[in-house]
Amino acid sequence: MLDFFMGHYAYWFTMILLAIGLYGMLIKKNLVKKTIGLSIFQAGVILFFVSVAMKWGATVPVKADGLPVSEVSNYMNALPHTLMLTAIVVGVATLGVAYALIIKIYNRYGTLDEEELLDKIQ
């Protein structure tokens, strides 16, 4: 049982991050906090990819002398890292749009609390 948890701790870590992110988005009333939750959620996915690339005893995927590339166990998987570079950019862009919208909402309604916001909209 313990082995099941300990053996997959990276996955459990991802799960916890996703859960925290989801909690932030669903439960928090403040729109900024919601975006923080969103960010944590995305970070969970990104860390999952990075953890997948991990190999014990391997080094970062930068070619080094004495470590032939043909021996793949020498290096961690480079692809997930590069993919996540893109995903991070996407995440930043998302945050940018989200904050632009939040500023717009604040200018119109003068609040970022969801309940107050809904009251004012009605």
Partner: protein, 499 residues
């Protein structure tokens, strides 16, 4: 060799114009619409060329970016299905952009440049999603299109930014879940190329990561497609966005997401593997069926035309997803045909609501009356055409996609879904004939008021820029209906392996 660059040229056109429009728009904002029209016009022309090329030669173009062969490099797969969907979305976008002239003046004056820039970006994202043969690349395009559609939705009424924000939160979660699913699949197969992965999946199909990936991807894409019960973002977004934005997003956005679902379920996993561990198709089918009924019933309860259309979209997207979930040839034909039909119908209906908003300043169903028939005779004819097609009466297009979907349910002996199709057609009839009654008949309660306003309403028909796209779509519905056999014969060549 003809047209082998088309898959790359279509998104490239949009990129070019997404850069050109803001640069030129800085000092000449009045020509941004012309530029956007030019851009989507070129894209439509290219996709038409590509589709004709496909019909004539039947060849699938695989475009390798940078000359890198898959699975190392990213490829665009321009097969019949992609060619068809690309043509549909580009043509619809072109027509909607023609229509946007008056609305853009009225609903967001001075912000034409951002609007047209973002719409180019969004079309880039949608085209990329349809064309790409790489799962991660798909995610990137998904986010490009999503981010632009959040921005487009935010251009609208006072409430628009808030509904856009909600859409952003839900949409990003959907995108992230899809990405997580891709990660699961990557860990077990080591590839991201759809065709490559399809070949590898049979070896790893028993792995729990695969079924987890499938669930995550279906949920993630389901959010974008507004599959019940993941549709929460849709009604508000479509309602409060500017009429031209919702006319652009509603027919295209959810369709492309449904197309991704189709790719994932029937091309990536394939008919044999999709149900290997979980009865995925059955579950998706049930949600689609519930969504169809839910959307139709909610549509009846609405008093605002755009909101009604938004709920009706949820119901119609259910048809497409139901067709996919049937996983048989008839269901496939029905789903693909319905992508075209519903794109035409829903775009037309949103354009009508946009036209009414420009003329009347509102689109509240409760305020509709029979003066509209005099004021906007042709707009109302277009509306009636779309409505009858939505109800699914022959020989308009809507009937035929329902016909194939019905055949698909019969082939699977899925009587529940057959009943859903029939019942929802009736519900469609309820919410459309309700409006038609208001527009075409005297209001018996207001007979005494008749004498008061004895002045008969004058013809106040919308201008050419609005009439033209609506007329094209209305005629399109009839033409697609009557000649759908030709389209279906082309769809026959698009079947995934296993049919």
């Amino acid at each position: 060799m003809t047209g082998s660059n088309i898959p790359a040229l279509i998104p490239a056109t949009y990129i070019l114009f997404a850069i050109l429009i803001p640069v030129i728009g800085l000092w000449r904002s009045e020509i941004t619409r012309a530029l956007a029209l030019l851009g989507s016009g070129i894209a439509t022309f290219l996709s038409a060329l590509g589709f004709i090329n496909y019909i004539q030669s039947g060849e699938v173009i695989r475009y390798y970016f940078g000359g890198w062969m898959p699975p190392i490099g990213i490829e665009f797969v321009y097969d019949g299905l992609a060619a068809f969907i690309v043509l549909v979305i580009n043509a619809i976008a072109f027509l909607v952009l023609i229509h946007s002239k008056e609305i853009s003046k009225l609903e967001f004056p001075g912000r034409k440049m951002p609007y047209y820039t973002i719409s180019m970006l969004m079309m880039l994202g949608f085209n990329g999603m349809v064309l790409t043969g790489d799962l991660f690349n798909l995610y990137v395009f998904l986010e490009i299109s999503s981010l632009s559609s959040y921005a487009l939705i935010a251009i609208g009424s006072k409430r628009a930014p808030y509904s856009a924000f909600r859409y952003l939160i839900i949409g990003t979660v959907g995108g992230s879940l899809y990405l997580l699913g891709v990660g699961f699949l990557y860990t077990v197969t080591g590839t991201l190329n759809i065709i490559d992965m399809h070949a590898m999946l049979p070896q790893v199909i028993g792995h729990s990561a695969v079924v987890g990936a499938l669930i995550l991807m279906v949920i993630g894409v389901g959010v974008k497609a507004a599959l019940f019960p993941l549709h929460g973002w849709l009604p508000d977004s479509y309602t409060f966005a500017s009429s031209t934005s919702s006319a652009l997003i509603a027919p295209i956005g959810t369709k492309v997401a449904a197309y991704i679902l189709l790719r994932v379920m029937l091309f990536l996993f394939g008919v044999e593997l999709i149900d290997a561990q979980l009865p995925v198709t059955t579950i998706v089918g049930i949600f689609a069926g519930v969504g169809i009924l839910y959307g139709s019933i909610m549509a009846i309860a609405q008093s605002e035309l755009k909101k009604m259309l938004a709920y009706s979209s949820i119901s119609q997207i259910g048809y497409i997803i139901m067709g996919i979930s049937l996983a048989n040839p008839f269901g496939f034909i029905g789903a693909v045909l319905h992508v075209l039909n519903h794109a035409l119908m829903k775009a037309l209906l949103f354009l009508v609501s946009g036209s009414l908003r420009t003329k009347e300043g509102h689109s509240l169903i409760t305020k509709f009356d029979n003066s509209y028939r005099k004021k906007y005779p042709w707009t109302m004819v277009a509306f009636t055409t779309a409505a009858i097609s939505m109800v699914g009466l022959p020989p308009l297009a809507g009937f035929f996609s329902k016909w194939y979907l019905a055949l698909g349910t019969i082939e699977n002996s899925n009587w529940m879904l057959l009943a859903v199709i029939l019942i929802s057609s009736l519900l469609n009839a309820v919410y459309f004939f309700r409006i038609l009654e208001k527009v075409y008949l005297n209001n018996p309660d207001a007979e005494e008021a008749d004498d008061a306003e004895a002045v008969s309403p004058q013809n106040n028909e919308v201008g050419f820029s609005m009439m033209f796209p609506m007329a094209v779509m209305a005629i399109g519905l009839l033409v697609v209906g009557i000649f759908n056999a030709y389209i279906v014969n082309v769809i026959f060549t698009m079947f995934p392996a296993g049919f």
